[in-house]
Symmetry: C2
Subunit: 314 residues, 2 copies
């Protein structure tokens, strides 16, 4: 049994996860990162203690933590985490002074990929990639059954591959990152950009005229009804998502690429478009390349993945 | 001892390579791909036979072949090779009917990476990437000491990662591939594009006014003397090369990225610019990422790499 911690910008969610990947106990506290790293780390500890409460010693074998940024899995240092405003926080060392269990730390998309492929897909694929399409875009790479984070802990950051000239700069400071084309933030910004010229759109109707209410769900809903602005937004998103997937093929040629995160809730409407566009982008038409599928694991992927990550590293 | 075959568009070069990576015998015949695959395969066999001549049986342990395109290392099939006009040629099966030795086939840039990292860099790096900057751009990825070709044999094709909007379509049929920005063909085409507007340039002077004589060497020579057109061409090349390197970091975060191929002969002039641009593209300034270096192995990387590839697969 392992503890999985999903450290997010909003909540610190934790769970006790058995070896099959099922959660048997769950808890959550608000992160409130403005309090600073010390207070957040203290709350991570409280979450871990509350999960350990009442258990026999030695039942829990380790703790896995998924963080919304870049971590060095060798040292357990959080290198950079824009959402939390953490830079070079020695998270593992800080926790290790209070907990006598092995602690493993990696990026949240990497641990989500571990959850998806080890639990939901039952280890069927040993070379597999997950893209999480949320406010940002995360990536998780599994090669030969192992999560890849790279030599310095900065690999698997697929949202930051540069694929073109973006409408706005990425929060990493550069221009052209995949996440500035295919995240919910990206499609909201591009929709607003188009709505200035063409305000007659279902998007604004669904948002009740309130530009701040525009979100990914509304844009997809409008696109499904062929609203021209929404269709243009989604077509652009799909074009770059297909480029991101084909670049993944050009690098590591996985067996499968799985789409997760909030935008993947658009389901087959999104998936069908992506598959068609990926097929058109293949330059070796007669040869198979990665299947594209929606993630099977919808909830608690962060907690389960962090725990399973600890299990496979253990 | 292994035989390494470097199958190129111009020559079929082969060599007997001892385990240390030294070539003890070498031979070469023209490829002339217009003759068709059967004639070329017959000549590959002749090259192998001539290398085996006079040797005791069992001295040679296997044959490695680097091909200028996509091969499936599991089946030994050449999937696509634009230069040779080969599509789905079962190269290994065809050779295996005549040769009773293990045969291993992979992309030429992948085997060049094997030569560079196993021989020239003496196995110092287990996570490493090579980019070959020639007429096209090839990629070789070494992870945990093994060459990565992907699940379907179409990985490691770093020249085909899409990084922007190109001036012309790639010979793969798509737009925006890295090799349409950073190959010798790419810089020649971009230079000509600029020279139409600005013909007063050292580039045309060095080419004696003959547009067909413009090549990568001339462009670099002019850029070193600060010729404005040449500087613009090289700056654009370096910008996209740095993007390609940083995308490599965002995927697999190797310890080192090595630049080989004809354009790498520009040496420190190119390397210094690339390092500066890569540094500016880092979004985690305080953390190390891949060192960028010039390839150490200048000659016969194709032959040595193919042989060493056979050795490590054996």
């Amino acid at each position: 049994m392992y503890i999985g911690i999903d450290l997010g910008g909003t909540n610190i969610a934790g769970g006790l996860v058995v070896d099959s990947g099922d959660i048997i106990k769950k808890t959550s506290v608000p992160t409130d990162p403005s309090r600073g790293a010390d207070a957040v780390i203290a709350d991570i500890l409280k979450v871990i203690y509350s999960l350990l409460e009442g258990l026999e010693p030695n039942v829990v074998k380790g703790v896995g933590i998924g963080i919304p940024g870049i971590a060095d899995p060798h040292t357990g240092e959080v290198i950079a985490c824009v959402n939390l405003n953490w830079y070079h926080v020695p998270l593992k060392d800080r926790l290790q002074t209070a907990i006598d269990l092995p602690i493993y730390i990696d990026n949240d998309a990497t641990v989500a990929a571990v959850a998806e492929f080890s639990v939901a897909q039952q280890g069927k694929y040993s070379n597999a990639v997950m893209l999480t399409l949320g406010t940002g875009v995360g990536g998780g790479i599994i090669l030969d059954g192992k999560a890849i984070s790279g030599h310095h802990g900065i690999g698997s950051e697929l949202g930051h591959m540069i694929v073109g000239e973006g409408l706005y700069d990425c929060n990493c400071g550069r221009n052209g990152c995949l996440e500035t084309f295919v995240s919910s933030l990206a499609i909201i910004r591009y929709a607003k950009h188009l709505l200035i010229e063409t305000p007659e759109s279902l998007i604004l109707e669904y948002a009740k005229g309130d530009w701040d209410q525009i979100n990914g769900e509304i844009i997809f809903k409008a696109a499904m009804l062929k609203d021209p602005v929404a269709v243009k937004v989604i077509d652009r998103m799909v074009k770059y998502l297909a480029i991101g997937i084909m670049n993944t093929v050009s690098f590591i040629d996985p067996e499968i690429v799985v789409l997760g995160g909030g935008l993947a809730n658009a389901g087959d409407f999104l998936l069908d478009k992506v598959k068609t566009t990926v097929e058109a982008l293949k330059y070796f038409k007669a040869t198979d390349c990665a299947r594209v599928e929606l993630a099977k694991l919808k909830n608690d992927a962060g907690i389960i993945g962090a725990a399973m990550y600890a299990k496979i590293q253990d």
